[in-house]
């Protein structure tokens, strides 16, 4: 018997249709994955099941939990179901917990709310829950505030809240998207173990097909508010009836044809024994400040025409290193040279040789400027200003090179999608033909299909512009497809370095090995495309 049955669910916000007639069933103790790209309606489906959709949304259809239609229940009855019968895990562990309450209180209040227990016995139970989600010593953790825990630990607390009352269903909305690969592997394993132990039915919402493939019993693929395909995991991957499923799968395992590099022996970027450190807040008022060494004695170089990757998890120092290369971060020791010019004393002339593409295509543009103004900005770095006419023709050319049209230059940034914005960011970086481009997690915020397109574009431009770049990413698949050589960073140090293929296939360092093993992989079914 199915524990949850969604029948012809439609949801509209204003005149926009978010969910369109979706139906599915969830069996007792089963894991159903809902997958699709951003905007496909995955999260709205989850919120509708616990009836926390935005209040101005119009909902049609039925949602049966056991034998009762949730959509007909009033607020009072719903509050008894939420948390007790249906638990919820959200994406962003950094913001999902109340910053002014201890994690213990946040778990035990759920228990007190739904049972007859008093605070004291709820606290005892909370200790058990903390142990179960792998947070020990529980007596220590129970008194902590969220800001005193890491992202992975916070997500364990959120999971603890969701499973506290042994609910029938847990809905996990992108539970590991904000986490590093190794943490992601641990959290997924924990989730899998807990739902098995308590015989909980799990709805796992994620954009990542690889995460889903070895967790889910059943997979639903969503596109534009419609479930285009739903089947048992094995069958789905074997058959892939719907073209969208195929394209999603192809994009996830996308490999790029990176033209072979035209390397020369000229050094473009040299980094010698660079150390960067921050002053930490004092722990006692008259004590000396401690320093945190974010980058520790790092040395490497990039030759003209090389495509180098830098891999590492959050907090490994890759962002600090990036800022140091751009000359935005003071260097404590060592030197960074761009073509024999010290970057810390760099003139405009040197700076024009390095451009950068950032991660967030939404936050990295001034919304009040037209696209033409945005992408001609780097020309300020060139002393002898070009004629207006030639700048205009360069704008046209570069827009066409990145796959947009020259008419786009008169638009504003909000008129573009995330992928298009990232193309504009690349256009801005390339317009003055820099010698080195730094891609700082440049495809991490994009959907898989868009990501595949942008990676293809970078590969194509690498050929056309003869680009050298440093590609920073936490995603091994991206590094594999787009770089010749790669560096692995951990705790501020480069721990492994070599040709990308060699590092990823025969890793020498133990950490590199764990990193590769932790990365979720697509099933290796042979597909006919």
């Amino acid at each position: 018997m199915s524990i949850l049955s969604v029948e012809n669910l439609s949801l509209k916000i204003g005149s926009e249709s978010i969910l369109n007639n979706i139906s599915f069933k969830l069996g007792q103790g089963r894991i159903l994955a809902i997958t699709g790209e951003s905007g496909s309606g995955k999260s709205m489906t989850a919120l509708s099941i616990i009836q926390l959709q935005p209040k101005y949304a119009k909902l049609k259809g039925k949602i049966f939990f056991k034998d009762q239609d949730i959509t007909e229940k009033d607020e009072f009855e719903l509050c008894k179901i939420r948390g007790a019968k249906i638990g919820m895990i959200f994406q962003e562990p950094m913001t999902a917990l109340n910053p002014v309450k201890t994690v213990g209180d946040q778990i035990s209040e759920t228990i007190v709310l739904h049972s007859e227990k008093n605070k004291k016995s709820a606290d005892t139970e909370t200790l058990n829950i903390l142990e179960r989600v792998g947070l020990s010593p529980a007596t220590e953790v129970i008194k902590r505030y969220p800001h005193e825990l890491s992202g992975g630990q916070r997500q364990r607390v959120v999971i603890g809240i969701a499973i506290a009352l042994k609910p029938s269903i847990v809905i996990a909305d992108e539970p590991t998207t904000a986490l590093d690969v190794t943490t992601q592997a641990q959290i997924l394993a924990l989730l899998k173990r807990l739902v098995k132990e308590d015989n909980i039915s799990l709805i796992l919402i994620t954009h990542d097909l690889a995460v889903v493939s070895d967790m889910a019993d059943e997979i639903a693929i969503m596109q534009n508010g419609i479930i285009v395909e739903i089947d048992e995991t094995q069958n789905l991957f074997r058959n892939m009836k719907h073209p969208y499923t195929r394209s999603l799968f192809a994009a996830s395992g996308h490999s790029v044809d990176l033209p072979s590099a035209k390397r020369s022996a000229d050094l473009l970027l040299t980094i010698q024994n660079v150390t960067c450190r921050y002053r930490l807040a004092r722990t006692k008022i008259f004590s000396k400040s401690d320093y945190f060494t974010a980058v520790s004695n790092v040395s490497f170089d990039i030759k003209n025409g090389e495509r180098v990757g830098l891999v590492g998890e959050s907090g490994c120092g890759k962002s600090t290193l990036t800022r140091a290369i751009l000359g935005l971060e003071p260097i404590y020791e060592g030197a960074i040279n761009v073509e024999d010019q010290d970057i810390s004393k760099a003139t405009l002339n040197t700076r024009k040789n390095i451009q950068v593409v950032f991660q967030d295509p939404y936050g990295s543009f001034n919304p009040r400027h037209k696209v033409s103004t945005l992408i001609k900005e780097p020309f300020y770095l060139i002393k002898d200003a070009l004629e207006v006419k030639s700048i205009e023709s360069k704008i046209d050319n570069v827009l066409e090179d990145v796959g947009l049209s020259s008419a786009d230059k008169n638009k504003y940034i909000h008129e573009f999608s995330g992928g298009q914005r990232q193309r504009i960011a690349i256009a801005r970086a390339l317009i003055i033909k820099p010698k080195l481009v730094i891609f700082d997690e440049a495809v991490s915020a994009l959907d898989v299909t868009v990501r595949a397109q942008i990676l293809d574009l970078i590969a194509q431009l690498a050929e056309e512009y003869g680009l050298s770049y440093l590609f920073i990413s936490h995603d091994l698949a991206v590094i594999r497809s787009i770089t010749d050589r790669c560096l692995v960073m951990k705790d501020g140090k480069i721990i492994e370095e070599g040709l990308t293929k060699k590092v990823l296939e025969q890793p020498q360092n133990a950490y590199t090995k764990t990193l590769i093993e932790a990365a979720p992989k697509l099933p290796s079914f042979q597909m006919e495309l």
Partner: protein, 315 residues
């Protein structure tokens, strides 16, 4: 937490020292010699010099500054040039009007603003919200001396519930004193309550859109329980900031209301002292007000840390 408080306390002392230097210098630079002002235009040179010596004005600036500061630490604020009575006595008399008035007004303002702001936030976009927002707009727009006069017309002249002005000394009964402060406190509280309700409303609305509120709702808390258990404490930081600023304003800025209600408060004292070049009184009262403002800020800073555990570790 202790480190945090200690650091705040140090910054409190530093601020007080700087303030005393600035106040002393400003009063020194201000034109007009108190001695010649007190004796009038026809005074003899040597009479003025004698008076200057008596008032201690002939000593050098540095030693006058230090005797002023050390006197204040001991509670001796000097002697008023015009009234020839100890400044500390004058201040003591006035502060028992100004301080209770400020607290009274703040209490009224908070008691109106919290429920109004919370109500408006929960009714966001509905009629209740619009009503509260309209009322607060009105409260901010009305000049408070005019509102004070309206209060007098209605409650003192027509209904005769309160007297139209004056202050009943505390010895005659606390309730009577409070009664005489009620109309001025309401007049002072109205604009403050309006501002505070708006701050409360927007802070709460912002907090209600946070992820952890959604988590709490998913735990099974109802809309009201979420506000009490999770949202309110998080929304409190901006509200505390405004309350701190308002208290400082009410201590020093009540001068117009004091005039309207004939209250012997600090505002009136400063005003009179300035017109009479009674510099020692001006200096002392201003210093006292600065002390009050800085102390309130210190209390607000400590309250931040009580509300938000993330601030406690920052030293």
């Amino acid at each position: 937490m202790l480190g945090y408080i200690l650091k705040r306390a140090i910054s409190l002392i530093v601020s007080l020292c700087l303030a005393s230097i600035i106040i002393f210098s400003v009063v020194e630079i201000a034109p007009g010699d108190p001695a010649s002002f007190m004796l009038g235009i026809n005074a003899q040179e040597d009479t003025i010099a004698a008076l200057r010596a008596e008032l201690g004005l002939d000593q050098d600036k540095l030693s006058r500054y230090f005797s002023w500061v050390s006197g204040m630490v001991k509670g001796d604020f000097g002697t008023s040039y015009t009234y020839r009575s100890p400044v500390s006595d004058m201040i003591k008399e006035r502060i028992w009007v100004s301080l209770p008035l400020a607290l009274y007004a703040l209490l009224i303002s908070t008691f109106i603003a919290f429920p109004a702001g919370i109500y408006a936030a929960t009714q966001r976009g509905k009629a209740g919200d619009a009503a509260v927002m309209g009322a607060t707009q009105f409260g901010i727009a009305i000049p408070n001396f005019w509102f004070a006069m309206i209060l007098v017309v209605i409650f003192a002249l027509k209904l005769r519930w309160f007297s139209a002005g004056g202050f009943v000394e505390w010895e005659n009964g606390i309730l009577l004193s409070l009664k005489s402060l009620t109309l001025p406190a309401i007049a002072l509280a109205l604009p403050q309550a309006s501002i505070l309700s708006r701050v409360m409303r927007s802070a709460l609305i912002e907090t209600l859109s946070e992820d952890y509120i959604r988590t709490a709702r998913a735990k099974g808390f109802g809309k009201k329980a979420v506000i009490w258990r999770h949202a309110l404490r998080n929304a409190l930081i901006p509200v505390l900031t405004i309350i701190g600023l308002q208290f400082s304003f009410l201590m020093a800025g009540a001068i117009i209301i004091e005039q309207v209600f004939f209250l012997p408060g600090l505002g009136r004292l400063v005003f009179q002292a300035i017109t009479q070049r009674d510099l020692i009184v001006v200096e002392s009262v201003v210093m006292l007000l600065v002390f009050a403002v800085i102390t309130v800020n210190f209390i607000v800073d400590v309250a931040y840390a009580v509300v938000d555990p993330r601030l406690r570790r920052r030293v």
